[in-house]
Amino acid sequence: MSYFIDFVNKYAPLIWLSLEILAALTGLIVYKKYKHTVNKYFIWFLVYIVFMDIIGRYSYWVVGNGSLNFLQGTVLEQNYWWFTIFWNVASVLFFGGYYLKLINNKLRKKILKISLAIFLFISVFSILITLPKFFYGDINIIGISGTVIILQCVFYYFFEVLQSDKILDFYKSLAFYISCAVLILWLVQTPLTFFEMYNKAYDMDYVNLRNYINLLVISFMYITYTVGLIVSKPEYD
C-alpha cells in the first residue's frame, strides 16, 4: 500500500503529462477529420495544454540548486500565478468560446457571453485586491465562478442535444465527450479548493487523498478526450 502511495505521489504529474501528450497527439493525428469543424480549436487547445503544463513546471528547477534558483525568494518562486492565469482563467474562457460556437439558441448565447464577461472581471478584480495571494495560492472565487461557467456551457449544450435530433447520435459527437470530461473535472476539483489550506507537507493524509482524486479525474478527462477524438464523426457536431 505504501509503495502504491509513493508511486502515485512520485509519478502522478508524469502520468497526467503523458496523458495530455497522448490526447494532443491523437488530436493532431485525426486533425484532418475535424479540419472544418469547431473541434479544430479544441485540438489546438490540447496542444496548448501540453506546452502550458510543461512551462508551468519551471518551479521544479527553482528549489535547491536548480537551474532557476535565482528565482528563490521572488514572487515567481511558486507556479500558482502561472496556473491561475493560463489554466483556471484561460481554459474557462476557451471552453466558453468553444460552447458559444456549439450552441445555437440566441438567448443562451447571450447569457453565456455576459457570464464570461463577468467571470473575466471577477478574475482580474480578485487577483488585484488579494494581490500577494495570487503568487502563493489558488484564489477560490476564480475556481468557483469558473465552475459556474463550465456548468452553464455543459448544461446548455446538453439541453440542445436533448431537444434536437442530435440525441440520436450523441455518442458520435466529440462535444459530448468533452462535455462529460469537463463536467466531471470541474465539479470534482471545485471542492478541493476549499481544502487547499490542508495541502501542506505536514498533512500527508490530505495530500495523498488530493493526489488520488486529481489523478483520477485528470486521467479520466484526457482518456475521455482521446477516446472521443477517435470514435467521433465530425459531421455530428
Binding site: 446538453f158 442535444v161 436533448l162 440525441i167 440520436l168 450523441f170 455518442y171 459530448f176 462529460c180 463536467l183 466531471i184 465539479l187 470534482v188 471542492p191 478541493l192 481544502f195 489550506m197 490542508y198 501542506k200 505536514y202 498533512d203 493524509d205 490530505y206 487523498l209 482524486i213
Partner: protein, 280 residues
C-alpha cells in the same frame, strides 16, 4: 480576547485535516461522479426511447406505402380483368356470331366472290382467336390458373402471331419449383410491361425471354435488339416505376439495363417464397 487566543493557537499548531473532513471530501467526490454517470445513463435511455419512436414511425410509413402499392396493383388487376372479360364475353361473342353466320352464308355465296368471302371469314376467325388470347393475358385469374410459364408462352405466341417481332422463349430447370400463383401474376405483369415497351418504343426485330428455374429462385432474362435508351437521360415513366414497385412488392431483384443502339435487357431474380396474404 478568545479570538486572539485562537489565532495564536493556530499559528502554533497549523490546521490539519481531520478524517471526518477527508471522508466528507471522498463522499462528495463519489456523489459528483455518480451524478455525472447518471447524466450519461439518462442520455442513453433517452436516445434509445427516441430511436424506438422514430423506428416505429418509419415502419408505419412503410406499411402504409406497401398498402398503397398493394391497392394500386389490386385496382389495376381488377381493371384488366374487367377489360379481359368484356373482350371475351362481348366482342368475342359478337365475333363468333359473325363467324357462325358467315359459315352459314358460305353455301349461298356466288362463286365469283367466294375467295374474298373466305378471306374475310378467315380474318374474323383470326380476330376471334386474337381477342381470346388477349383476354386471357389480361385476366389475372386466368394467369393464376394457367400458371406463369403457360401465360408467358401464350404472350410470346400472341406476339409472334401479330408479326410485329420475332419472339422466343427458352426454359431451363424445373418449372415445378415455382408454385406461388399470386407472385406469378406480378412477375407476368412485369414481363408484359417490358414486352409492351419493346413493341412501343424499341423498334426491335427480336426479343428473347429466358426462364431459369433454380432450386430456390427463378432467374428471368429478357432481351431485345432494339434502339435502346440512355439510362441516365431517360425520364422515369409510369411503366418503369410500376415495374420497379411491383418487383419490390414480391422481393424481386430488379435490373433494367440499356445502351443506345445495343438493345435493352431486363434481369430479374425472384427468390421463391410461400403464398402470401396478398389478395387480388
Amino acid at each position: 480576547m478568545i479570538s486572539t487566543v485562537l489565532t495564536l493557537l493556530q499559528e502554533v499548531n497549523p490546521p490539519i485535516s481531520t478524517s471526518a473532513e477527508r471522508y466528507l471530501l471522498i463522499y462528495m467526490v463519489s456523489i459528483l461522479i455518480i451524478l455525472c454517470g447518471l447524466i450519461v445513463v439518462f442520455f442513453v435511455v433517452f436516445q434509445k426511447r427516441k430511436n424506438k419512436l422514430i423506428m416505429e414511425k418509419i415502419r408505419q410509413q412503410q406499411q402504409f406505402e406497401e398498402e398503397i402499392s398493394n391497392t394500386q396493383v389490386e385496382i389495376q388487376e381488377q381493371t384488366l380483368k374487367n377489360i379481359g372479360q368484356e373482350l371475351h364475353d362481348n366482342i368475342g361473342q359478337l365475333l363468333s356470331v359473325a363467324n357462325m353466320q358467315l359459315s352459314i352464308l358460305n353455301t349461298q355465296v356466288p362463286e365469283d366472290i367466294k375467295e374474298s368471302f373466305t378471306e374475310t371469314k378467315n380474318v374474323i376467325r383470326d380476330s376471334l382467336g386474337e381477342v381470346r388470347a388477349l383476354s386471357k393475358s389480361l385476366n389475372s385469374e386466368v394467369i393464376a390458373n394457367r400458371g406463369f410459364q403457360l401465360s408467358v408462352q401464350n404472350e410470346i405466341e400472341r406476339l409472334n402471331k401479330l408479326k410485329l417481332l420475332n419472339a422466343q422463349l427458352i426454359i431451363e430447370g424445373n418449372p415445378e419449383n415455382f408454385k406461388n400463383s399470386k407472385d406469378s401474376i406480378i412477375l407476368f405483369r412485369i414481363l408484359q410491361e417490358f414486352l409492351s415497351n419493346t413493341i412501343k418504343y424499341a423498334k426491335a426485330s427480336n426479343v428473347s425471354i429466358n426462364l431459369n428455374y433454380k432450386q430456390d429462385s427463378l432467374e428471368i432474362k429478357a432481351e431485345d435488339n432494339g434502339v435502346g435508351f440512355n439510362e441516365t437521360e431517360i425520364e422515369k415513366g409510369a411503366g418503369l416505376i410500376n415495374m420497379k414497385s411491383r418487383a419490390a412488392l414480391i422481393g424481386v431483384n430488379f435490373k433494367l439495363s440499356s445502351q443506345v443502339g445495343k438493345g435493352t435487357a431486363l434481369h430479374l431474380v425472384y427468390p421463391f417464397r410461400a403464398e402470401t396474404k396478398f389478395t387480388l
